[in-house]
């Protein structure tokens, strides 16, 4: 494949397009709301109306507004339909020629859409993720070509470094620095791993990206492999995401067929293979050493770092691990330049971040916003506040490793440092809104139960400390605990944070500590003076 071939493919794809293109979201969220049936009905309606020559129905990736699914959009005039029922398909087709249409229409000018900035999700809801031609038609794989033919690995790393991109998996480690470490680590072989083990409950950014634009991730991984000198990649995807896995398999097969993966890519000496590894239900595998153990076919238990995977990773070789969203930023950075990317966001957090906005909020779904937007803007403007007008109480970011940010601090901008300052983390991007009716002790208990169940059991503080903390939270919640119990809980928070082997245990206290910090009275209200003991019930 040559650059010209790419352009020819893109041109062919564009020229075979029909006058009207109707996008029907076929991502997991909308599929659950009946999108597949709708898709078929739309096709049938086009057929019935004799519009085959003029109208194309395209199954596309996620448009983001999952709560309003299934979503349908008409490309040319930008009309957006929400909550579309299959039987409404003929109405939509008729409306193309001015027919009456009572299908609920969405508003592109709504802040939910207008305040977003799409970099990683630019193709979501626009292209058919199951056809590589569509990705190529929007300029796909040109960044890879450019990198292989016009940039040295060092130049690629330099570009990523200058862009200011930081890891989107949670901790925000500078991506360029990570790549540079892997590149300079000596090793006969090197590996690139894409961490798609999106385990945070309440987060589905990675699922959506993988379902909507799998080639974007493959291209990002390929560029990374070239930069660090790897020839093999692994895409580790949660088993809970069958659609993402199926689309990735398809994407890999297509890329191989077009020699965009495999040997001598773009007629260079660069070889890169990608294999999928399907997770089997273990949150801890999001931790990079546990993920490596899992790819090696072992129990997903972390090991102490250092040595870091960048030096000693998969089968002992230098290994680059980035998450899905991080890889999603790579091709756009190469295409538009590091300076362009560095111009977006805040001083220390560059670019955009994808969030899954869920919970007690009117507009649930996936959003991509520039770093630095405030939580208030996200929750109130994009999210539209709570559905029934109940006051918002707080928002949990970062899932079980994150914290709860109270409404009073909603003017905090979303960037790595600011979120850490208020006791939470960026995390992978889950943002669960809680309203006044949400019981914060219960929320802390919910997350602790999660951590307890997901603890791998290797290190003592996490394995049994989470059990003790869960019991204490249950006791408090049931009104059976004393002030001494609360003190013990706080000591355990401290212990787990400082002594646990991996991030799971170290961050498990976050939800407890942040709710204690901002909603302490909810705990204290539940305390009793005297110890209570259960006697035999007769």
């Amino acid at each position: 494949m040559e650059f010209q071939d790419l352009q020819i493919m893109a041109e062919q794809e564009r020229s075979r397009r029909k006058a009207i293109r109707i996008h029907c979201c076929t991502s997991s969220g909308c599929q659950a709301s009946g999108a597949l049936e709708l898709f078929h009905q739309l096709q049938a309606a086009v057929e019935a109306a004799g519009q085959n020559e003029r109208v194309d129905i395209v199954g596309v990736g996620c448009m983001g507004f999952c709560g309003q699914g299934p979503m349908v959009s008409v490309e040319a005039d930008g009309v957006l339909f929400e909550h579309v029922r299959p039987e409404q398909a003929p109405e939509i087709i008729a409306s193309l020629d001015g027919g009456p249409c009572n299908v609920k229409q969405g508003d592109h000018a709504h802040p939910f859409f207008s305040r977003q900035l799409h970099i990683v999700r630019r193709n979501g809801g626009v292209i058919d993720p199951e056809r590589i031609e569509e990705y190529i038609a929007v300029g796909g794989y040109q960044a890879l070509y450019h990198v292989l033919h016009e940039m040295s690995p060092a130049e690629v790393i330099d570009a990523i470094t200058r862009s200011g991109l930081r890891g989107r998996g949670g901790a925000g480690y500078p991506t360029g620095l990570k790549w540079a470490t892997v590149a300079k680590s000596p090793g006969e072989r090197k590996f690139v791993i894409c961490n798609g083990d999106e385990g945070d409950p309440g987060a589905f950014m990675d699922r959506s990206i993988l379902e909507s634009d799998p080639h974007l991730i493959l291209e990002g991984m390929s560029i990374a492999a070239y930069a660090v000198g790897a020839d093999q990649g692994y895409l580790y995807v949660r088993g809970e995401y069958p659609l993402a896995i199926a689309r990735l398999q398809k994407a890999i097969a297509q890329a191989r067929k077009h020699d965009l993966l495999g040997s001598q890519i773009f007629d260079t000496s660069f070889n890169f293979r990608v294999d999928i590894r399907v997770g089997a239900g273990a949150f801890v595998c999001g931790e990079e050493t546990a993920l490596i153990a899992s790819i090696e076919g072992r129990r997903g238990q972390p090991r102490p770092r250092p040595p870091y995977p960048a030096e000693h990773g998969l089968w002992g070789y230098p290994t680059l691990i980035n998450n899905v969203e991080t890889f999603g930023n790579i091709a756009p950075i190469i295409t538009n330049g590091a300076d362009w990317y560095a111009g977006i966001g805040t001083e220390r957090s560059k670019g955009t971040k994808v969030f899954a906005l869920t919970g007690k909020v009117r507009n649930t779904g996936l959003i991509e916003v520039p770093m630095g937007m405030t939580i208030r803007e996200i929750v109130e403007e994009l999210g539209g506040g709570t559905p029934d007008g109940t006051p918002v109480k707080g928002v949990q970011t970062g899932g079980p490793s994150g914290g709860c940010i109270p409404e009073a601090l909603f003017d905090t901008p979303v960037d790595y440092e600011s979120l850490a300052e208020v006791g939470s983390i960026m995390g992978s991007g889950g943002m669960v809104v809680m309203d006044a009716t949400t019981n914060m002790v219960e929320i802390a208990r919910f997350y602790m139960e999660f951590c307890m169940d997901e603890s791998c059991g290797k290190c003592i503080p996490c394995r049994t400390g989470t059990v003790q903390m869960y019991r204490l939270l249950s006791k408090i919640s049931a009104g059976q605990a004393t002030a001494a119990d609360l003190a013990t809980l706080e000591q355990l928070c401290h212990l787990l944070r400082e002594t646990s082997l991996c991030g799971l245990g170290q961050s498990a206290p976050n939800p407890v500590q942040s709710t204690l910090r901002y909603f302490r009275e909810e705990y204290e209200r539940l305390l009793r003076k005297r110890v209570r003991i259960n006697l035999t019930s007769r």
């Binding site: 129990r299 603890s455 791998c456 003592i460 394995r463 355990l492």
Partner: protein
């Protein structure tokens, strides 16, 4: 082998460049509590008892898994570390049914000794009192899960020294437990060579030789290191 100079608790000591902080400390006569570490076996860094403070590092580091560096300043016994160690030992005592009074290893038990070492006067946490089984299907040995601390020393001794990998861990979190072969009774585990290395490696009374009664079980865990050393030197 190049030498490294470092300080542990303010005392200047020298160590070989590939040594761990734990090894360097022990050679200098400085004791750091350990549980999952056993000379001769690979390190897993799981018990977190040997965590030390290293100047310049915000995080505590496991001495067993941290290589010495030139000029390193290590603290092994600060109030913070002591408090953490005590809490970890208490968590272990609360996790399963460690009843010293009726244990074959009482008086010869590393966990019991650790409790003394870290100054555990009582356990502040709720005893979880799980219902654990005892397996005495093996002709010579038994395993009492009530006393297991999941240090995986038996797993590693069996895998790395005996080379048969009869033991492993099943399940996860606090439900994890050691198993033999496909979770069969130990006596039916055909891969077991009855070599007894797991018995030597076990820090508590979890793995015991049948026939020993309360406080009778004595064994020498350092024999694992002796076997490994002998093998390395011979070949």
């Amino acid at each position: 082998m190049a030498a490294r100079t470092l300080t542990i608790n303010g005392t200047l000591i020298s160590a070989r460049s590939n040594e761990t902080v734990l090894e360097a400390a022990r050679e200098a006569g400085i004791s750091i509590p350990t549980l999952c570490h056993l000379d001769g076996l690979s390190e897993v860094g799981a018990c977190r008892l040997c965590l030390v403070e290293i100047a310049g590092s915000a995080k505590l580091q496991p001495a067993c898994h941290t290589t010495v560096t030139e000029g390193m300043e290590v603290q092994t016994d600060t109030p913070r570390l002591k408090a953490h160690r005590r809490a970890i030992v208490e968590l272990l005592f609360a996790e399963r049914n460690h009843i010293c009074a009726v244990c074959v290893a009482s008086g010869h038990c590393e966990l019991q000794q650790l409790a003394v070492e870290v100054g555990m006067s009582h356990v502040r946490y709720e005893y979880l009192s799980p219902d654990c089984s005892v397996d005495i299907s093996h002709a010579r040995f038994g395993i009492d899960h009530n006393r297991c601390v999941l240090c995986t020393r038996c797993v590693r001794a069996c895998d790395e020294v005996e080379g048969v990998h009869t033991w492993d861990i099943a399940g996860r979190g606090t439900n994890a437990r050691v198993i033999t072969d496909l979770n069969v009774p130990w006596g039916e585990a055909t891969s077991c060579t009855s070599c007894g290395k797991c018995l030597l490696a076990c820090p508590t009374g979890a793995i015991f030789s049948r026939g020993s009664t309360v406080a009778e079980l004595e064994r020498d865990a350092s024999r694992i290191a002796t076997i490994v050393a002998a093998r390395n030197e011979r070949w």
